[in-house]
Amino acid sequence: MTMFLVRRLLGLVPVLAVAIVLTFAALQSLPGDPVAVMLSDHSADVELAARLRAEYGLDQPMWRQFLTYVTHVVEGDFGLSFRFVHTPVIEVLADGLKVSPLLALAALAIAFPLGAFAGSYAAIHRNRWPDTAVILFLVAGISIPNFALATFLVYVLSIKLGVLPVAGWGSFDRAVLPVLILAIPCAAYLARLARALMLEVLQQDYVRTARAKGMSERVVVWRHAFRNILVPLLTQTGVIFGGLLSTTFVVETIFNIPGLGRLAIQSIFARDYPVAMAIILLFTLFYALINLTVDLLCAAIDPRLRAEGAGRP
């Protein structure tokens, strides 16, 4: 198990290295010059532009900028932000780091139980009205784009009824709509999965055996069948969590939430390369760690995977 973990962690190094090279190349090839963005209309001020260029090391050749960057990143230093004067990248990211994972986790905390129960409930009432209602919900949840749903809910709940704030961050009521928007498609996806899994499990021999033993339907469904769908659902949750992090880009922008997603978009537009790079690397790391966690969970459950992992050349 330890070997497996070490191998997988070492495997992260080339992934991150490739991410650094690709994001550096991608950002450098964007049209536009960070100093010109900083000074906007006044960028013909040659003196000021030259001073800023030197201060941020932008007067160095590309390869040297890259080497300096990599050396610093290895030392844990992401440099200074181009957009926020004299502010380290870490400081710019600090607030967002507290927001985006929280948003995604809150959404998951709602989506997982809701999806699992709604899907199972639909399955045991197959082809009756609860099933139809759940299917309607999940089709709508999956197919209505999040920005459309957000606009609709803001219009009804915030502008017409005035029960929730339009946008912003910092209090519980401001988090309700964004978390809902994130949770709904997730819950719908999980419900679809749970319904399919439950239908399959209910056909299994052990369920038939349990029924044959005279157990009550409630115990059969919730104690025996439901537990068995939880494992594949959890596996899927890893993938879904990664997706949730990406969706925060959209939701944070719509609701004006100071998370990493909105910051990434603003940084790219402002040519704030150091901040954009750091966020992309962080997200790469998040994805890799989530996949690792899921693999570890699976390995813990299924010894065959562990052996296979350890024996991999």
């Binding site: 964007l30 049209p31 536009g32 010059d33 960070p34 010109a36 963005v37 900083m38 906007s40 209309d41 006044h42 960028s43 013909a44 001020d45 040659v46 000021l48 957009r83 926020f84 004067v85 004299h86 502010t87 710019v92 607030d95 967002g96 905390a109 709602i110 139980p113 809701l114 129960f117 709604a118 045991i124 709940l157 915030s158 502008i159 005035g162 029960v163 929730l164 704030p165 339009v166 946008a167 912003g168 961050w169 910092g170 209090s171 009521d173 309700v176 809902l180 949770a183 819950a187 409630r218 469904v221 919730w222 922008t253 719509i254 004006n256 100071p258 909105r262 910051l263 603003q266 040519r271």
Partner: protein
């Protein structure tokens, strides 16, 4: 049980019913800005969002009224020096910084030196010190002291120049407390502020808001609101929705929200509309596209533009025709320039006279601008093709790249603008059209114009200086250096219970008299 569990899940998922909405303190003025300031530092600031926060906290020699006039602020009076070029300023007595220390001449000198010193942080205000004696030495590290600034006594200071600079008193400086670094360290601006203004810095939650508190000891009288909250809202649509929901008292709108705001009759009585302190023009670089060398071609292009249609179609009515290169609201504006006409027949005739009848013999030319102006350059391309037979290709360019190539004089044909740095028409005529200005992007050059502007920069009398501007502007327009384009407005919405706040040609007014009923 399934039902019970489901119900529990539902109560988790939809906590809407449990929400208790608490409105923010009603006595704080809540306004929007479209991005974080780059730093709330009176020295480094170089963009509008920092400026809008800083102008509430810091002051200079003068302050700008909402109608564009400069009023004495930290200087009560000033007079030209008899010994040479420069000014002697009498500073306001009894003014206290937010730290409690008294404001005096040494703080003015300190601010100037911090703006210039090498390795320093001088942003945009540093450009206003270029003519001060000793500025170059200080910048290059050959001196540690700004030779041209002399402290006469605690409340008198003399500033000497290498050449006349009559507008110096109205340049926007933010004087800072010279004792702040010793008290709070180099990162003082994250904890406090060093100003004298009506509001003090409270906190900046990056990406969320900047909060200011009222300064009860303000020399001009304590503000009537408890503070100002600048909410950072990147999109106009969100800002408008928050205004609708009562989360903002005053909303300054970006141009892409004008249509939504102006088409809603409910907003009519809440709308504030003032011309922006911004001149718009068509850049025609004669070095890059040979037909532009002929004045008749330049005039024909101006005559081909239907400015009324543009104002309606492109700007939703939130613009007004501009006939010269100065705008109302900025002293030195000339309202008497004859209106520019839309005359396609005369435009055709002029082009034929120039030897390009029906556009024959004119090579195709690209008209470039940034993404927000896509519709506008498409209009020019169509209109010039239709009226003059010119082959104009619209091309959208990324903003920073575009500005860089314009500054380098590498763009032949482009609509662009210039925003005032201070309230005097010199900010337009001098910076945009003087031959030697780095911001003269179309590279138009005229010796007689340059002479008049140089002369104006030495003329302290407003009336006489404005007369020189008029002569210079006439030369500019008679030569069709450009085709002026409709100028846009600042549009804001203000709740009916909010008084004494507005937007000016430069952005938000200073909120010292703001009142929320």
């Amino acid at each position: 049980m399934a039902f019970r569990v489901l119900r529990r899940a539902a109560t988790l998922a939809i906590p809407v019913a449990l929400v208790i909405w608490s409105p923010a303190n009603a006595k704080t003025l809540r306004v929007n800005i479209n991005a974080d300031p780059s730093q709330i530092d009176p020295l480094t600031y170089s963009e509008l969002n920092s400026y809008q926060v800083l102008e509430q906290v810091y002051e200079g020699f003068t302050s700008i009224t909402p109608d564009g006039r400069a009023l004495p602020a930290l200087a009560v009076s000033w007079a030209p020096l008899s010994s040479g070029y420069g000014f002697r300023f009498n500073l306001r007595e009894g003014v206290k910084f937010h730290s409690g220390r008294l404001f005096s001449a040494k703080d003015v000198k300190y601010t100037f030196e911090q703006l210039l010193k090498p390795g320093g942080q001088g942003g945009l205000s540093a450009q206003f010190l270029g003519n001060v004696i000793g500025a170059a030495d200080l910048k290059a590290g050959r001196a540690t002291d700004l030779a041209g600034v002399k402290i006469v006594d605690e409340h008198t200071i003399e500033v000497s120049f290498t050449k006349p600079d009559v507008l110096f008193p109205i340049y926007e400086f933010f004087f800072m407390d010279s004792g702040i670094v010793a008290e709070l360290g180099a990162d003082w601006m994250t904890k406090s502020d060093a100003g004298t203004g009506p509001f003090t810095f409270k906190q900046w939650k990056r990406g969320v808001e900047v909060d200011l508190a009222a300064n009860p000891g303000y020399w001009g009288g304590a503000p009537k609101v408890d503070g100002v909250q600048f909410l950072i809202i990147p999109t106009g649509d969100t800002a408008l929705s928050q205004y609708d929901a009562g989360e903002l008292d005053l909303v300054n709108l970006p141009e892409n929200s004008f249509r939504r705001a102006l088409s809603n009759p409910a907003y009519q009585s809440q709308t504030i509309k003032v011309p922006k302190a911004q001149v718009r023009y068509m850049g025609m670089n004669q070095n890059l596209y040979a037909p532009f060398k002929d004045k008749r071609v330049r005039e024909a292009i101006s005559l081909s533009l239907d400015r009324d249609a543009m104002i309606k179609g492109l700007y939703n009515g939130a613009a007004f025709p501009l006939n010269g290169q100065t705008v109302p609201g900025i002293p030195g504006y000339n309202p008497d320039i004859p209106a520019l006409k839309y005359d396609p027949e005369r435009a055709k005739a002029l082009l034929a006279e120039a030897g390009f009848a029906g556009g024959k013999g004119m090579p195709p030319v690209e008209i470039q601008c940034t993404e927000p102006f896509r519709d506008e350059i498409t209009y020019y391309a169509n209109q010039l093709g239709k009226v003059l037979g010119m082959q104009v290709i619209p091309k959208v360019v990324e903003r920073a790249t575009f500005i860089k190539s314009m500054n380098a004089g590498e763009v032949a044909f482009f609509p662009w603008s210039w925003t005032a740095d201070y309230p005097d028409a010199m900010t337009f005529l001098g910076e945009m059209w003087l031959s030697k200005s780095p911001f003269n992007r179309p590279r138009w050059s005229n010796a007689a114009f340059d002479k008049l502007i140089d002369q104006a920069s030495t003329e302290p009398d407003d009336a006489k200086r404005f007369a020189l501007y008029r002569q210079a502007e006439k030369i500019l327009m008679d030569d069709w250096a450009t085709a002026p384009l409709p100028a846009t407005s600042n549009i804001a919405l203000r709740k009916p219970n909010v008084k004494n706040v507005t937007v000016t040609p430069f952005g938000y007014s200073v909120f010292q008299d703001a009142l929320i009923q």
